[in-house]
Amino acid sequence: MSRLDDLFAPQPVPEWLRFFEAEPDRAVDALLWRRFYFGPLNVEEPEELLIDWALWMSAEEEFLETLDGALALWVERTWGEHPGAGGTGGGARRLADAWSALAHVVKNVDGLPRTVDALRRAFEEKDEYLGALSVGPSQDPLGRYLDALAAHQQDRSLAPFWWRLCDLGDDTPFYHASYAMAGLIGLPPLEEEAGGFREEVARGAVALARAFDRLVERGVLPEKRAEGALRSIVRLAMARFPFPEPWGQVFTESAARASERCFHWLDKLLPGRLEVRQEAEAQTPSRRFDHAGWKARAQRIAGELRRNRPAALQAAEELLAEEERYAEISGDSYNVVRSLCNFASSARQTVPRQAVRWADTARRWEPWNAYSWTTLVEALAEWRGADEALPLAWASVERFPEDATTRNGLAEVLKATDRLDEAEQVYRETVDRFPDNAHARTGLAEVLKATDRLEEAEQVYRKAVDRFPDNAHARTGLAEVLKVMDRLEEAEQVYRETVDRFPSDVVALNGLAAVLRLRGPAFLDEALHLVDGVLKKQPGRKDSLAEKARILERMGRFEEAAEAYAQGHQETQGAETFTRESPLRDGTASAAQLRTARDTGAVKASVHAPSDVYPLVPSLPSEVRETPAAYGLPIRRNRQDRARWSSEARFYRRWARTGGGTGPDRSPEALRDHADELLHQVLSLWPHDAKALAERALLRLDAGRWSEARNLILSALDALPATPALLAILARVEREEARAEKKTLREAQAAVLDPSLRLRALNPAFQPLAHLQKGRAFLALTDGLDRLQGAAKELTHLRQWIRPFLGRREDTFEKWWGGRIEDRVFFQIGPEPEVQPTEVETVTAILTERSAEIDLLEEDFWGRLSAGPAPPVITL
């Protein structure tokens, strides 16, 4: 008689438990993969049986330990496996069910620490892996995984994650809202809250209310549904912590700055307990709370960080701890993210490692904030070099297609890695998409200058000056190009105009001084006067000190020059970065050495070196610069490379679509080949990489190989059914084929419309894309009236969705994307959102003519909404 016999007597011991007793690993495997028939137990979900037994035998330590070991082993063996694993031949649904079952057991059973630990270690990969299997709330291994983690939290390290989930950002399906609440509830309570009311839970409820409000605002969810979803979560949380008084206080305080709708929802949840808010508050809905003194402290600390004051680090950490604690309790990350980004920017040259840590923390708090990404890109480039920052720079552009700054950041990084062609293309796209962005134009001009296309650079600068007369950078850039072209008098004139318009612009003052120095001895006094003027106001300014030293050298005042170089060096002493000054000018050269250098021509040779071409990142020693992948990059098998290669492939494919660049290796065919090589690299190492598979299908589609593209997508969807890009591409494949083969609605309806339906079922946030794709699908068919009516209906829905965003003040992705669609597609028809069947032909002509451009906008949409939460770029 075993222990099990004792426990079950007089009933027989279930067969599976006998199996488990003998071979726990195999028994668990069979249960999770549903390869065990439970006979008369007749269960619909075998994991329920296991939970029952485990709870019942919770006092049996040996049983739980054995179960824990077997489950943990299963996690380690199965994580990363794709459909077909488990020897069942089953598809993605079976794999998803197995993971859901595992997570369901872990959530409901205490005493499985090894399994929880195994799941927790896979945290950074959860979205990529489980997310691709999660097609909705009923098949949602990712949600179940979050639920399991929520139930077993030993510390508060996941607090920022749960708050981020409360925001229900683009990468979070709305039905994960309840897991966000479960996560907050599952956090070990703060000391003062143990056993009583949990303020953070109440604030989480408010955060969810705001998030659902945003989803309604964006047309993702109907108001009734959003309110219903919020109501059920909050009512359960209120039943769990039945303290109406403090709930009312938190709601009153938070709701004061909430939107009308949000206020109304909260009011209904606690009838009669919310105080009537002031009208002024109601008119300025905001989640920001400026704590008295934090902003000023942050600014002071940032200044000290820039000057590399040692005490600043300590002060920064103290402030961040205060702000982070506030964010953890309130979910309001505005203050902490502002400080983190501010500190990271200020410290990136002096303590770049720390800057990266700060910026990465900011990004974890607010992954939807483009600024936190660009700050991290800059910090990472400073610390590890531009090449290390590239994957992140690519990712940020895909994530924030509406943001010109991220694109400029990418271009800067490309420039710093000597990939000037690519940088130029990125800038050109940015100029095209964001014609009002001055930085993109000056950046383009700088790339042209760096490739010695000085006349072109001059033209771009002159256009920039014409378009943005108040942009000092455009003017100084133009002057610099003229200087490099040895058109010193013209450069001087542009600089003087700039100084007249912007008398305190240090770059212009230094630049003018440099041009005067180059013009000859007659101008040196004025040059010295200019830099002295700057240094009087900013005594430690390095570039001015360097310019002063050069002027003094030219004047033959070598002792003073050496002193100026030394002073400039001293200003940066203690910094982790290597100074960009040449060895002769690193502050250690004596006056005699400087004299000798002049005599041998070393100084003169470096006069025209464009020292400020790479303002964002330091130049890297040539031996550590990485060659692009297709030109012999050694394969480094990490996730960053994987993402980067696919991103680069995407970039080259899109470049090819716009006609490519100059030269044979930049022809569309060469660019596509290059993209294919990169994808081959990814897929040979990670055959189920969703992004690479999607890109490869798009490449095939661009080449007109529909059948190949379709097979690729269908096979990819078998393994990764919840990948929006794959569904959206399938819609495109079917549409293009229907068009080419002149199919009718009857012949092609299911094929061309189903992928869009599935996309919308996956996440209602894809609705506008589904309308656009369905509208285009109807237009690709050959039927008469049905086709026109179908297209008119879908395009009307799309315009109705777009319309509210256009008038809004804040810049959002929806506003940008909707604005582009309106401008590019609907500009020739009436202003009312209703698209009449009679107008459809006009739209058809435009869509045909601009098909490539609209395709890219479609890609921007799904890229933005399926970017997934960001994994950390670096382990510190």
């Binding site: 426990l7 079950f8 007597a9 007089p10 009933q11 069979a30 993969w33 549903r34 390869r35 065990f36 028939y37 006979g39 008369p40 137990l41 007749n42 269960v43 619909e44 979900e45 329920e48 049986l49 029952d52 037994w53 019942w56 069942t88 031949g89 089953g90 598809g91 649904r93 079976r94 959530k107 409901n108 097609v135 909705g136 709330p137 009923s138 098949q139 949602d140 639920d147 399991a148 039905y175 897991y179 609440m181 479960a182 509830i185 599952g186 549904r225 219903g228 059920s232 979560i233 009512r235 359960l236 949380a237 039943a239 769990r240 599935r758 919308r760 079922a761 996956l762 996440n763 209602p764």
Partner: protein, 341 residues
Amino acid sequence: MAPKTPPFAGAGPPFSVFLERTGKTASLGDSRFLARNFLLDEGAVETRLESYARAGAAADHADVSAWAGRHDDYLKRFVFLDQPAGGAPETVNPTHPSCPETFRHPEAFRSLGLAHPDLDLVRVVSVGGVVRKLPAGLATETELVAWAHEALATKDPDSAAWQALEAALAEWHPRLDLRPVFAGFWQEQKDLLDGGPPDWADVLRDRLGLLHLSPRRPGQELPIFVFRYPIRRIPRRLGLRDERALAVPTVLDGQLSEAFCPAPMEDAYGRVVDLAASYREPSREVLHPFFPAEVKLLARVGVIRRAPAKPVEEARAAHLLAIRVMSGRDDYAATTDGDLA
């Protein structure tokens, strides 16, 4: 009218061979009934057989476990479909990807589509199953039961208990797939549910053949909710104003179950194997599409405490006897279940 040849019996090898062999293997105990059910079922339409074959389920399997795995694959591909993020469809559209195969073919509604909309159905739900699907930390089984009792006692939709239970159900529903729902008829169970004996929950479980709602270990108690709703509450068929999507259960609509037995074609309903082998007329059962239950539909809260008193084999024998009498087909299941006295 001559009885129709059950489609799986005539499907030919290798699956029919497997079914014949399994159905006759006495050492399998009650599991042999699984195969017999397939050989008996007259209701499955041909196109569904094709789907079953496509899922790899119509094969000569190594054993019942392997078959159960493939059957599960079929269900998940064609019947237990995922619920869209936007919620369950409110009408049954046979061409929509979210429509289970059960409701795709008009033959399925032949006998029940026009059932009277005022007839009430009953559905039994395990409270443990609800609570475990709720996100962590939001509610316990004890709380759910207490809320339900209070809601039933006060009938007050504004009460905290009612609202909390409504919230729990609203959180539970999206986590369910769109598998067809088995339901019985209120009128047949009224004697239990309007008052009834103290062990009414155990008796109801037996009458409705809910073998899975049996204690799995000594002393286990299983709280249940019973929902009551009129047929008119069930989703309509698209474009058919008066027709509700009510179907007769077949072997292809749920997991393999030893306590299931397909009804003869003559019967307009499914017929449940009474786990108490009571020899009374087997309860009727139907299938309908998933729709969210609400607190206002809650009719009773109870606890199942004991296992079925009779073995499944005895219950099946009694069931078949009753079916033969009722249908006038004395030889119904004679070739498959001749060994059951």
